[in-house]
């Protein structure tokens, strides 16, 4: 009988797919390249920035000195705490609202139709344009900045979540139905797991936008936060000190994105299962 032999053949089959493809870069090499690009930028900045008026550009070593100063005098820590508070609250509310509305609209044609035009209209308006109105409504307090971040965050999350729910494999829905799945079970067995990669993508887009939102909100409204450090130092021609919050924002962006990638890696492990 042919069965046992076929069995062995099919067991041997998995594993061929990956090897034939381009070999993935080793982590050591990838990190060398990553750090080399940063080093190249810093060196170029140091050379060029050192050769011109420090008010125009400054240079990395001066920025480093300013960084230490600002940590010591507490101005950086204070601003960072203020910005992170706004970032955290806005991101939390925005992403929760985006996921919830996205899931609801993905499953209900009625809700999808209801939110369709408002969402597309609001998404098309640059959120910056709404800041003056938000200030009118909420004043200059933390609330205003949180609302601005919320507006920057909600749309990429909502739109990606909605897409994730829409992309659920209809064949798998039929499988679930054939095994007599209830609608509630279908959410946990099928809809959430398949939408999850889309949701994480939305959150990753939202992180970058949330950082923009924080700085924009602080430019317009506040006398605190990293955004305020930038404007204050810029108007005092303290260029090196002005660059410190900018670099901090860049680092925040890299760190948050890495954290989300880590979370994604954990959550959608099945996608990366060794072939």
């Amino acid at each position: 009988m042919t069965a046992p032999m076929t069995q062995r053949l099919t067991v041997a089959a998995p594993g061929r797919g990956r090897r034939s493809r381009r070999r993935p870069m080793s982590p050591a090499r990838r990190w060398t390249l990553r750090l080399a690009s940063v080093a190249a930028i810093l060196i170029a900045w140091q050379i060029y920035g050192g050769s011109i008026n420090p008010i125009l550009l400054s240079d990395p070593s001066a920025v480093a000195v300013a960084f230490v100063d600002m940590v010591r005098d507490g101005s950086l820590g204070h601003a960072l705490a203020s910005s992170l508070e706004v970032l955290g609250l806005g991101f939390l509310f925005g992403s929760v609202a985006g996921v919830v509305i996205g899931l609801a609209a993905g499953r209900s044609e009625t809700i999808a139709a209801l939110i369709d035009l408002p969402v597309n209209a609001l998404y098309a308006i640059p959120a910056v344009a709404l800041v003056p109105v938000i200030v009118l409504w909420f004043g200059f307090a933390v609330t205003t900045k949180t609302v601005v971040v919320f507006l920057f965050v909600i749309f990429p999350v909502l739109i990606n979540t909605l897409r994730g729910v829409r992309e659920v494999d209809p064949e798998l829905i039929e499988v679930a139905r054939s095994f007599c799945s209830s609608e509630r079970r279908m959410w946990f067995d099928l809809i959430l797991p398949s939408a999850l990669p889309f949701i994480v993508t939305g959150l990753r887009l939202a992180i970058g936008r949330a950082l923009i939102g924080v700085i924009v909100a602080e430019f317009y409204t506040s006398l605190s936060g990293l955004g305020d450090l930038i404007t204050t130092n810029a108007s005092n021609f303290q260029t090196a000190r002005m660059f410190v919050p900018i670099v901090v924002i860049a680092v925040l962006g890299v760190v948050f994105t890495a954290l989300l990638e880590l979370a994604e890696h954990r959550l959608v492990q099945w996608r990366r299962a060794p072939q």
Binding site: M1, T2, A3, T6, Q7, L9, T10, V11, A13, P14, E171, L172, E174, V175, A176, R177, S178, F179, C180, S181, S182, R185, D189, L190, P193, S194, V268, W270, R271, A273, P274, Q275
Partner: protein, 289 residues
Amino acid sequence: MASPHLVLDNVCVELGGARILQDVSLTVAEREFVCVIGTSGGGKTTLLRTIAGLLPVASGSVSLDGAPVDGPSPRAAVVFQHFGLFPWKTVRSNIAYGLRVQGRPVDQDLIRRMLEILRLTDVADYYPSQLSGGMKQRVGIARALATEPEVLLLDEPFSSLDAITRESLQNEVLRLWEANANMTALQVTHDIDEALLMADRVVVVSGPPGHITFELKVDLPRPRDSQEIRSHPDYPRMRKLLWDSLNTPAAGPLPAPGAAPARESAPARKGAPARPHVRPGTAPLSEAT
């Protein structure tokens, strides 16, 4: 024949306003293996999905032991052509899915037995993306069997597999069914050899709209095996019968007075006459091709 188990009575099905099935009547006995064969687009998969309760009937009725089928039932389980595995579940939890979703206790012994029977023990903790097509369909079959269905519905279960894997899985499913005391099976296929290997009775569906044009009782001895069955003296004749019935234009009965059903009798092994049951009003087989 045993008492009627699964009964389709003048079933018509419409999808998006188009009629896909037209007056399909079929009675399947308990523990019978019926293959529905037809060319693609003929409505045979629609027939299976209707029996599974996944599609509503426009008119007519489907019933199981006299109870109308108006939605998916835990008494039936489906094996899909596209496997239909959850990519984020391991082999083990894919197999347990049916039980879990039906709120039944997940008996680990049963899961272990299913893994063993379908030779999946070594890959129990793999994800579907790590499996070959044949292994994926083993998982699909194990998932269906784990719910211990009275009716197993197989929708072209082997058609996306390579020829060698297909044949070995056909034999395995056949053995599983032959060993199972009271499971009725209905399989959709477009493969004549597969139909003759698996079925007690082959039903030809032609369309659109799909309707039954021919039935053949396959009285070949069991247990069967894909290699041995082809050397059976009745095999070529039965194969030709099905081939001709599939190649007869489906639209309307053809005038072919010479082709009497008696001509196609296939001598039976175990006494009972194995005559193809040609339905009245359906296209008979024509000698002239």
